[in-house]
């Protein structure tokens, strides 16, 4: 094996610079959101100070990862996955309940969220499974095998009551798509989600009539094609099940606050001070930023705490208010550039392990980014997931950093793998 010079900046400067920029923007935004609280900066009550501590931890972790062996990463995948699943089970029993979810361990005052680390370990294990066994995702047996890896943490996190984080695991299906999963499955999946949402808006009877007519038309067109008739019949039955199950899902699986959030997305003015409050205030914050913004630390929405969770899930509202359209656009472009680099880097990995892992990193961060910003802009129900690297939160910052650091680590071994 050739010894390579894997200096930090020779790796992928764009990712590293944009990573550092995002962390910096996150830090100053958290600082701004905390400023009016009147707490001394050097205090563990101050979120921006704690975030700074976590940033130092990340830097430390970065150097540790730089010196560990490539094989070690590979061998770590299964044990890490098992440990994180065990932690997810343990948190159900010993965890601390925060805002109706039991997803936190409280160790001597240090809060720790295993579901954040599970994203990392699942990505690693998925990569290993793809690498070691000849998985063909369009083969139903293989698909089931990899799906289980994703579904187990999904269900455990759902049980914690943290629906938002659980939904993140669906982003792994993007990886499966890259690895050959037919687009058909995606369209079917997306159409089911759309039908579900239509069930919230429209009366059931209207949907029944609409889909029955649609089904009859499809039947009429494909009268001679037996396979098509079978397929569309199965699809039709599933649609009916979804429409029927919608009430059940809304009333039994989703919590009342989720239900309200879905409803308030469809009609935010129905309850602007209740379920719609976060979104209303976030939109006011971002909208009032106008073209140039109110200026750093001049955001009135921010300083008066009008936007709940403004340092975590709604951190983008601080950026939108204080830096305006210009600042928001620069931020969005920076983020997309970052994601684009991660995508390109992942695609360029010749090694399947590295590529699957890279795509996992991309998918997870992309999902968070797209959903979180949509949430703050009032385009998606509030499901409470952070904006990676920017939102306040040690567990989340560390786990996203781990994903990036490992991708960089794998990338830096690319030349040596070529010579393997």
């Amino acid at each position: 094996m050739r010894k390579i010079n894997n200096s930090i900046f020779s790796n992928d400067p764009i990712i590293i610079i944009s990573y550092l920029s995002l962390i910096f923007i996150g830090f100053i935004s958290i600082y701004s959101s905390q400023y009016s609280e009147g707490i001394s900066f050097f205090s563990f009550e101050n979120e921006s100070f704690k975030q700074l501590m976590w940033i130092f931890v990340c830097v430390l972790v970065f150097f540790i990862i730089q010196i560990i062996e490539y094989r070690f990463v590979f061998d770590l995948a299964l044990p890490l996955y098992i440990i994180s699943i065990l932690l997810l089970i343990m948190v159900l029993f010993f965890g601390q309940e925060v805002k109706s979810s039991t997803s936190w361990f409280n160790l001597f005052g240090l809060k720790f969220q295993p579901s954040e680390f599970t994203k990392f370990s699942t990505a690693l294990f998925l990569a290993k499974v793809f690498d070691s066994s000849g998985i063909k995702v369009n083969n139903l047996k293989s698909l089931a095998k990899v799906s289980i890896i994703i579904i187990i943490p999904f269900i455990l996190i759902l049980l914690q009551g943290d629906t938002g984080t659980a939904l993140v695991y669906f982003s792994f299906f993007l990886v499966l798509f890259r690895e050959g999963l037919s687009l058909k499955f995606f369209f079917i999946g997306i159409s089911f989600v759309l039908i579900f949402l239509m069930g919230v808006v429209f009366d059931k009877m209207i949907l029944y009539i609409f889909f029955t007519i649609l089904f009859l038309i499809v039947l009429g067109i494909s009268i001679k094609d037996f396979t098509k008739i079978i397929n569309s019949s199965i699809f039709f039955i599933l649609v009916l099940l979804i429409i029927n199950g919608q009430d059940f899902l809304m009333n039994n699986v989703l919590k009342p606050h989720h239900k309200k959030r879905i409803e308030s997305l469809i009609n935010p003015n129905a309850d602007p001070l209740g379920a719609g409050w976060n979104v209303t205030q976030s939109k006011i914050a971002i909208g009032s930023g106008s073209f140039l913004g109110k200026g750093y630390m001049e955001g009135t929405q921010t300083s008066f705490n009008f936007v709940p969770f403004q340092s975590t899930d709604f951190i983008f509202s601080v950026i939108g208010e204080e830096f305006g359209y210009i600042g928001s656009m620069l931020f969005i472009i920076l983020y997309i550039l970052f994601l684009y680099r991660v995508l390109i880097l992942s695609e360029n990995q010749k090694d399947k392990f590295a590529r699957v892992f890279g795509y996992s990193v991309f998918s997870i961060i992309f999902f968070h980014f797209a959903v979180n910003i949509s949430m703050t802009l009032g385009l998606f129900p509030v499901i409470g997931i952070p904006l990676p690297l920017v939102s306040y939160g040690g567990s989340s910052l560390l786990s996203f950093s781990l994903l990036i650091f490992f991708l960089l680590k794998l990338n830096s071994f690319k030349p040596s793998l070529l010579s393997r």
């Binding site: 971002i286 106008s290 008066f304 359209y325 656009m329 997309i336």
Partner: protein, 600 residues
């Protein structure tokens, strides 16, 4: 080839970029609503309360002014108190009361101020002022509160209190908000629009640290506050206080009017109360106490109480008789005591003697001639014609009328009409023998003290009056809405009756009120009271020529009018005209207030 799928990821990224940039464009650049919505979040509308107009008397003594009271507000989020005991002590509340207030405040909002303690007097405020710096999160607002330096004239001034829901609903102007003060009775109520002024509004912005940082848009949208108008009353507060002193311990009222203008000099109702009781923190407690009092101190007897006028009404009967030429000055009639109970001896009477001796049977005879003038052969019809004529005369004296008085809560009294008796006895079923009690001011007739005073004023003016009024100036401008009411009775008849009134005081039933320099003219009434001791009444004016004061006094359950009412009227007139009273013995007599058991 799976490698081609990256293009779909790239397209997705671009789509997300387009979605976000267009949504941001919509929110931040295109739609301007969000800017004002965020302003709404930080711009605080601050109401500037006008100072309510003050009220002064005819000699510019201040009757009502404003003193600051303090309301305290709590902002739970900012609350930090080092010494809780000192806080509890300052507001004289217990720990559990404080906790309850705090919880209520939190339930309302942690960021916005909630009312914590209401109406602290400025005296108490001065005591605890230095401690307030230690109570972070508790703010005070000074609030002008009514103060009455003379503790007098409570019924006419009225009081102010927080507006109630009903009043807010009725208010069509939308001016009033919860917790606003509004005049509830008397002048405070009837001149509310003058006294209240007009609220101002200031839009203030708060900087990122929550401190006030100047006005919004340089005050462009602010409303300037306008203070309330100053009212000048015709009241002479010294006379008022003197009369209130004389009335102490009695039930009744006294009204004094300046005859040549109709301006009310004093208007007292007893028992009374200190108007300061209904101002400030103890308002509700005191109001309940006053309401439960069986002597009804809140009740404004001067305007609201109605009594039969009694013998003073004989003056009106005499004037009608003269004008109708039923009697002439020189006419003498022999009067026996056959018709009606009488204290006057039988004998030959002219009108003067009848007034001085208050002969009931004379006025029975006179009233009969007024009612039955033989205009119809039918005695019932004749009585109806006579009564209608009579009541027209009586109405000229302002009886049965609210006199268009500024304070709307006033009773008009009652003059029985033909219709009234029709309802009572049936049409054409009544005649003189059913209504003869009217001849001596008894029966169904009801008058109020202010109407009696106005009557005294008519006599003083020898035949005309101006509506009694109490407010003379709004700020500097004089109110000129005086209508002169001239009675259709010749002046010479008044001169005749006034001479008789002079005799009443010099040698008749009003002797106790006689004082040479005063030249008081008057007439006493002793009003039969089926429920207890008779009521004592007096009307009069002084001096006889160019009168300065017309006065009516009505003291419940005080026996003969000659005693309480005449004495009080005489003393009040003396006090007003000479600025002091020399008759200490009479004053003592009145203040002692024991009019019943004494032999006259």
């Amino acid at each position: 080839m799976n490698g081609d799928k990256i293009i779909i990821f790239k397209i997705t990224l671009i789509l997300v970029l387009i979605l976000f940039s267009s949504r941001l464009f919509y929110l931040q650049v295109y739609n301007l609503d969000y800017r004002s919505l965020s302003e709404k979040n930080i711009v605080h509308l601050e109401t500037i309360y006008p100072s309510r107009g003050i009220i002064i008397d005819r000699n510019d003594f201040i009757l009502v002014e404003n003193r600051p009271n303090y309301d305290f507000y709590i902002i739970p989020r900012k609350l930090s108190v080092s010494d809780t005991a000192s806080l509890l002590n300052a507001f004289s509340i217990t720990k559990s009361e404080f906790e309850e207030l705090y919880d209520n405040a939190i339930n309302y909002s942690s960021y916005r101020p909630s009312l914590f303690y209401k109406d602290m007097s400025h005296i108490r405020f001065a005591e605890i002022q230095t401690k307030l710096y230690d109570f972070n999160g508790i703010y005070h607002i000074s609030k002008p509160t009514r103060f009455y330096p003379f503790s007098s004239l409570s019924h006419s001034l009225g009081y102010v209190a927080e507006i109630n829901n009903n009043e807010i609903m009725i208010d069509t102007s939308g001016y009033y908000k919860q917790r606003d003060l509004v005049g509830k009775s008397g002048i405070e109520k009837n001149f509310e629009n003058n006294l209240r002024g007009s609220k101002g509004v200031q839009l203030k912005i708060y900087d990122v640290r929550g401190n006030e940082s100047g006005s919004f848009k340089e005050g462009e949208d602010d409303l300037i506050v306008e203070n309330g108008d100053r009212l000048k009353l015709s009241i002479d507060i010294k006379l008022q206080k003197y009369i209130e002193k004389l009335l102490k311990g009695k039930v009744g009222s006294v009204v004094a009017i300046e005859p040549k203008s109709g301006e009310i000099l004093a208007i007292a109702s007893s028992p009374t109360f200190d108007p300061n009781m209904l101002s400030g923190r103890d308002y509700s407690k005191n109001y309940r106490k006053l309401q439960l009092d069986t002597l009804k101190p809140i009740y404004n007897r001067a305007l609201m109480a109605t009594y039969p006028p009694g013998s003073m009404f004989k003056l009106i009967q005499g004037l009608i008789g003269l004008q109708e030429k039923i009697v002439k000055k020189e006419d003498k009639v022999f009067i026996d005591l056959s018709r009606i109970g009488d204290l006057a001896p039988p004998g030959t009477y002219d009108l003067n003697k009848a007034i001085v001796n208050s002969s009931n049977n004379y006025f029975y005879w006179l009233f009969r001639k007024v009612i039955n003038q033989n205009r119809s052969s039918n005695t019932y019809t004749d009585s109806r014609i006579g009564l209608n004529k009579w009541s027209q005369y009586v109405k000229m004296f302002g009886l049965g009328s609210n006199l268009n008085f500024e304070i709307s809560n006033i009773n008009s009294g009652f003059i029985p009409s033909s219709n009234y008796y029709d309802r009572y006895y049936g049409s054409d079923r009544w005649k003189f023998s059913n209504i003869y009690s009217l001849s001596i001011g008894q029966g169904e007739l009801l008058v109020t003290p202010i109407q009696m005073a106005n009557f005294a004023s008519i006599l003083a003016n020898r035949g005309y009056f101006y509506n009694p009024s109490i407010v003379t100036h709004i700020n500097e401008s004089k109110i000129e809405n005086k209508k002169k009411h001239i009675l259709k009775i010749e002046k010479k008849h008044f001169d005749y009756v006034v001479d008789a009134m002079e005799n009443v005081v010099t040698s008749g039933s009003g002797r106790r009120g006689y004082m040479k320099e005063l030249m008081l003219c008057g007439k006493t009434s002793t009003v039969e009271n089926p429920h207890g001791y008779d009521h004592s009444g007096f009307i009069g004016f002084a001096p006889k020529n160019n009168p300065k004061i017309a006065i009516a006094a009505y003291i419940e359950n005080a026996g003969w009018g000659a005693r309480a009412a005449a004495s009080i009227s005489s003393l009040a007139s003396e006090y007003y005209i000479f600025g002091e009273t020399k008759r200490a013995w009479l004053e003592d007599y009145v203040l002692k207030g024991d009019f019943i058991d004494e032999e006259d």
